[in-house]
Amino acid sequence: MAVKDYIREKFFPHIWCPGCGHGIIMGGLIRAIETLQKEKNDIVIVSGIGCSSRICGYLDFHTLHTIHGRALAFATGVKLSRPELTVIAPMGDGDAFAIGGNHLIHAARRNIDITAIIMNNNIYGMTGGQYSPSTGYGEFATTAPYSNIDHPFDFVNLAIGAGASFVARTTTYHVTSMIKIIEKAIMHHGFSVVEIMSQCPTYFGRKNKFASAVEMLKYYRDHTTPIGSKDKKNNPDLIERGIFIEKEMPEYCDEYDKIIKMASKGE
């Protein structure tokens, strides 16, 4: 199948602002699915609420546009009852780590085979630029007009700490590796977290003195580096990207099957 078979063309043009990173991520996701040659019918997309979650409307799979923060809980139900389906949950940073943080760490702990794609733009776009759990200390937002005094989460470390068996970070600048990473995350048998740094020129950009979306993409280019690179040693402030964790661990649905077998034998 071709890329255009996976999208609902009739709903274009999409709602995202010019320069928004979310379209790039959607492109990456579709290309990853295309490479994997998945049937439309085999994929369930479960999203929450926010700019990022509107991705659901444009993808021609089984789609569930649920409520803010709850995508992973809903997705867990889908996966438990239909383990043969590929379940992907695209979420925003607030969606995944503020209101939905509890669901995310517990999905990671269970290691259930769901791919969580965190479209991290460090801000709440849809509601007008309020700070999110990844807005940095000293950065600006509608609700932090004199600069943010909260410290941001490090999503990658949080996901690793919670027990996710696949954890990666990439950006909308690094599209080629983004596609590869998403592909691997979908193929991974277990809970995968992919953080994709994504620009929101309308709110994060404007409030934090980025002249344009292009400036923000350049920022991703200049302020990130592959995991363990030489540059990182020279400049510890660089943000690492790549796959941090990729390990085989018992998957939740498989474990449940084993329990059923054990319990039935006991009788």
Binding site: H65, F74, G77, N102
Partner: protein, 559 residues
């Protein structure tokens, strides 16, 4: 025969639950109708708690407060519960403290004669069995079954202990104990609400429960975690109640029947999910086991305080069904109805129970399983060419398909959507049609609601109106008040939203009877049926309604 009420009292951790359970099973196996209820503090050890067993010829299924026989496992328990013992009743305890009593130092006998203190409680059970005039053989069978997994030694020890207690009691009983409970033909199921519900869910084809522990609903997930594999139900302990209901919705979207269970505080967290169920038209069954609130309230006590909450829970307007079964038999049937109608109308169904119904054991002669059956309403994908999840139809019910079942893609949206499930802001046409479509389901749903049960309403001047688990207490209240020469009747609701077409007969005085402080049923019925009430007999101290409570409150306030 006259009903006998036995109270077993002891500290938490002292084993009154096991003692009560074994005695209840023994009397039930003798062929009598048994009703048990427990009253305990919210703590793991200490405190003084009680386990009451009411024994009758025919099922009474309502609590009595006063005791004919009281077994006190320690001095504190004897002191706390002695006021409930009738003058002519019999106390069974380790130390002499009144005339009409059986004195056996269970602990000492166990240690000295059986070399192990663990048999003390079984000596007490043997004594109670003797006092009640039931067969030692029947007790022995129950003990053997109960302890068989622990090995022959333990079984033997228990049998000797039971015999010692039984002998000593019958010797001391001479001229004092008048009861006889010879073996009878009748065989009742002894079952609690929290046992009937998971069995009914299995029967109804439920395949999934997600829940977060919260008394008094926890028994349901405990039961299913243990038996679920064999019953074919996946039991998931979620990270919180929000996750629990959303997981259930995820499963339900995928085509399997799903439920969750909680109490008031957890239900408060689920409210957002109830609304999601309403908007996405995804069926889900929620068991709400009530306890007194607000906030943490009294975790191990009972109440009927969430009636209006459950009817109104959820932002926005959408159809739902609220049921409140009266006992485990009714709960079984209502749960099957809950799953069928959730499926048919693609909406949330809330089943209200309470601590009293959840944990009390009721005697049921027959569940009449042949009168209910699960019916699936998922559409046939072969018959559909272009699929629209929210297709506008006459009765508001759109064909529901599941992902992976056919080539059709299934899209759902919590935003207002069009027929395909795609977000829309077409305010003129689509939004109005969708709101109407969802709400129009209520019209046909209303036709499926059962009328309230009427007892003696025609002849009555005064009619008590109640709901849910207080049915047994209400019927007992009627009996007691009738004996005093009152013309009383009862109207009892178990299906509370939407309410059925019903009219309250004119010329009667109506009083609601409820386990809450604000008369929630009265408020609901007043607004829906324009009926007026003289007042409410309400109980909000965490204890269950009883016939005696209704009688005395009526005499005090309404005569």
């Amino acid at each position: 025969m006259k009903d006998i009420n036995v109270i077993i009292a002891g500290a938490a951790g002292e084993g009154i639950h096991t003692v009560g359970d074994i005695l209840a099973r023994t009397i039930s196996a003798q062929g009598y109708a048994v009703f048990t209820w427990q009253e305990y503090e919210s703590r793991i050890r200490g405190g003084q708690n009680s386990y009451s067993i009411r024994i009758s010829e025919k099922p009474r299924n309502a609590p009595l407060l006063q005791a004919d026989a009281l077994l006190g496992l320690n001095d504190g328990a004897v002191n706390k519960y002695k006021p409930l013992l009738k003058e002519e009743g019999i106390l069974i305890a380790q130390r002499q403290s009144r005339k009409r009593m059986i004195t056996i130092p269970f602990g000492e006998v166990a240690k000295e004669e059986l070399n192990d203190k663990i048999f003390a409680n079984t000596i007490a059970i043997g004594a109670l069995t003797g006092v009640l005039g039931a067969d030692l053989d029947t007790l022995n069978q129950v003990l053997a079954e109960k302890f068989k997994k622990k090995g022959q030694g333990i079984v033997q020890g228990n049998l000797s202990a039971a015999q010692k207690g039984y002998r000593q009691a019958t010797q001391q009983c001479k001229g004092m104990c008048a009861w006889k409970l010879p073996r009878q033909e009748a065989r009742y199921y002894l079952v609690s609400g929290n046992e009937a519900i998971p069995l009914a869910a299995t029967f109804a084809g439920c395949r999934f429960i997600a829940a977060y522990p919260m008394t008094p609903s926890t028994g349901i997930i405990n039961y299913l975690a243990k038996e679920g594999e064999l019953l074919g139900i996946f039991a998931e302990q979620a990270e919180d109640e929000i996750a629990a209901i959303n997981m259930a919705l995820g499963v339900s979207y995928s085509g399997a029947r799903a439920m969750t269970a909680t109490s008031g505080g957890g239900f408060a967290l689920m409210v957002e999910g109830i609304s999601l169920s309403g908007m996405t038209e995804t069926p889900v069954v929620v068991i709400l086991a009530q306890r007194p609130g607000p906030a943490t309230g009294l975790p191990t006590r009972t109440a009927q305080g969430e009636l209006l909450f459950s009817i109104n829970a959820g932002h926005g307007e959408f159809p739902r069904l609220v049921l409140a079964p009266s006992d485990p038999y009714d709960a079984f049937h209502k749960i099957v109805k809950a799953f069928n109608l959730a499926d048919k109308y693609q909406m949330p169904v809330i089943v209200l129970t309470d601590h009293f119904l959840a944990d009390s054991q009721f005697s049921v002669l027959d569940f009449h399983l042949n009168t209910v059956s699960p019916t699936s309403y998922i559409a046939d994908p072969q018959k559909i060419r272009d699929y629209k999840r929210y297709q506008l139809t006459k009765n508001g019910i759109s064909p529901r398909l599941c992902p992976g079942q056919s080539r059709h893609l299934v899209g759902v949206d919590s935003d207002e959507h069009d027929e395909e499930g795609h977000i829309t802001e077409d305010l003129d046409v689509m939004v109005r049609s969708m709101v109407k479509k969802r709400l129009s389901k209520l019209d046909s749903l209303k036709q499926e609601i059962s009328l309230p049960e009427e007892t003696n309403v025609n002849d009555a001047d005064i009619v008590f109106v109640g709901w849910g688990s207080s049915r047994g207490a209400l019927l007992e209240g009627l009996r007691l008040l009738k004996q005093e020469g009152n013309k009383v009747g009862m109207i009892h609701f178990t299906e509370l939203w939407p309410l059925p077409e019903f009219s309250f007969p004119n010329g009667k005085t109506y009083i609601t009877v409820e386990s809450n402080a604000t008369g929630q049923l009265a408020r609901l019925l007043r607004s829906e049926y324009s009926v007026s009430f003289k007042g409410t007999i309400s109980r909000y101290d965490g204890l269950p309604l009883t016939g005696e409570y209704i009688r005395s409150n009526f005499n005090e306030y309404y005569r």
